[in-house]
Assembly symmetry: C2
Homo-oligomer: 210 residues x 2
């Protein structure tokens, strides 16, 4: 994509200029927002890490998305079809900007610079999110736990431009992200080590194949 709007600097420059937003700070494990109760919300994660989490009727926990710096999230990205509440949980201390989506979309009355630039660049920002979601779908459609793990590792490896990288999750959370049973995943990790596909040192994975 060519128009590489620099969200980070943009936010630094303008995040204090608009009246129609809220900026809040959260500490680890606090609930940042919920999607059923907070409609039409668009949030930007300025700092920290957070997960979008769902619990199903059987008590399974799913990490629907994992957010890091500059991630966009909020109910505007969802059409809630089930009764299961979606929670955004802070995984570390977080700073979050909250908007009402319509305010961005219809521009705020003040016509502030922040809103103007944001709405101009919104297609690109949302498009980035679409590509993230498509990567996630690619992972989830893989048929076996092994392929999910290898697919995820290869993705991290591509992002870090290195065959060696830290997992951004605990292994427990990784299982919830790949939507598999934790113990089965651990078993598969062991097999991947035994079969010479990976090495694992603490939280660091080293890809050996190819």
């Amino acid at each position: 994509m060519n128009t590489n709007f620099d969200l980070e600097n943009f936010i630094l420059d303008f995040s204090n200029s608009c009246q129609k937003k809220q900026k809040k700070v959260f500490s680890k494990n606090e609930v940042v927002t919920t999607y059923i109760k907070n409609r039409n919300q668009l949030c930007i994660l300025l700092d920290g890490h957070a997960d979008l989490v769902r619990y199903d009727l059987n008590g399974n926990r799913t990490i629907v998305e994992h957010f890091s710096k500059n991630a966009l999230f909020g109910e505007v990205f969802y059409t809630i079809t089930t009764n299961n509440e979606l929670l955004v949980e802070a995984k570390s201390n977080c700073t979050v900007l909250f908007y009402i989506y319509d305010d961005i979309f219809h521009k705020c009355k003040n016509n502030c610079k922040f809103h103007q630039t944001l709405s101009e660049n919104l297609p690109q920002l949302i498009l980035n999110k679409v590509t993230d979601l498509n990567m996630r779908i690619e992972l989830l459609t893989k048929r076996s736990t092994r392929d999910k793990l290898l697919g995820y590792f290869s993705l991290l490896s591509t992002r870090k431009l290195s065959t060696s990288f830290e997992l951004p999750f605990s292994l427990t959370d990784l299982a919830d992200y790949l939507s598999v049973d934790r113990s089965a995943m651990m078993r598969e990790l062991k097999l991947l080590k035994e079969d010479g596909f990976i090495e694992k040192v603490g939280n660091r994975i080293i890809l050996l194949y190819k």
Copy 2:
């Protein structure tokens, strides 16, 4: 969402007004586009049905997305990370508009009405796509074939506002869409019938529970 931009009428009104697009017609089973070879492409399906399909190394076929009238697709929504080509296959006769995304984004020089309206409404269009993808992720994170089937049926039921609806897929394709083995899915369908969750008459499903 409040801004319900009427894509259909918009396209009817303006689809002939812009020079920077191509309109093509495809017949069933033809390849509409491929994502590795055609970068920076944004397409709108004016008519018909088409699937975005990927084949993995094991020969498994996955229906990544199912497109119907007014769907947006194209490489702009993807960051190709694997070597697996993604194909859009026409499932019926299709009419498709092709754009170069940058042309939309940077507005075309002619400043035509079509481009202007489209780029104004692009955030909303892409946002609709995001909600579709999130629904797909919700389906794929379900842990069992049974839950995937019930989840998908409940989704169709919500869309049609009826507990009785036609499947938009053949059963073979449905398995590829839910990312499960076809015969295992057939077995589960039988069990769902036996357990009184559904009835199935030809291609029509009737939800019985609740």
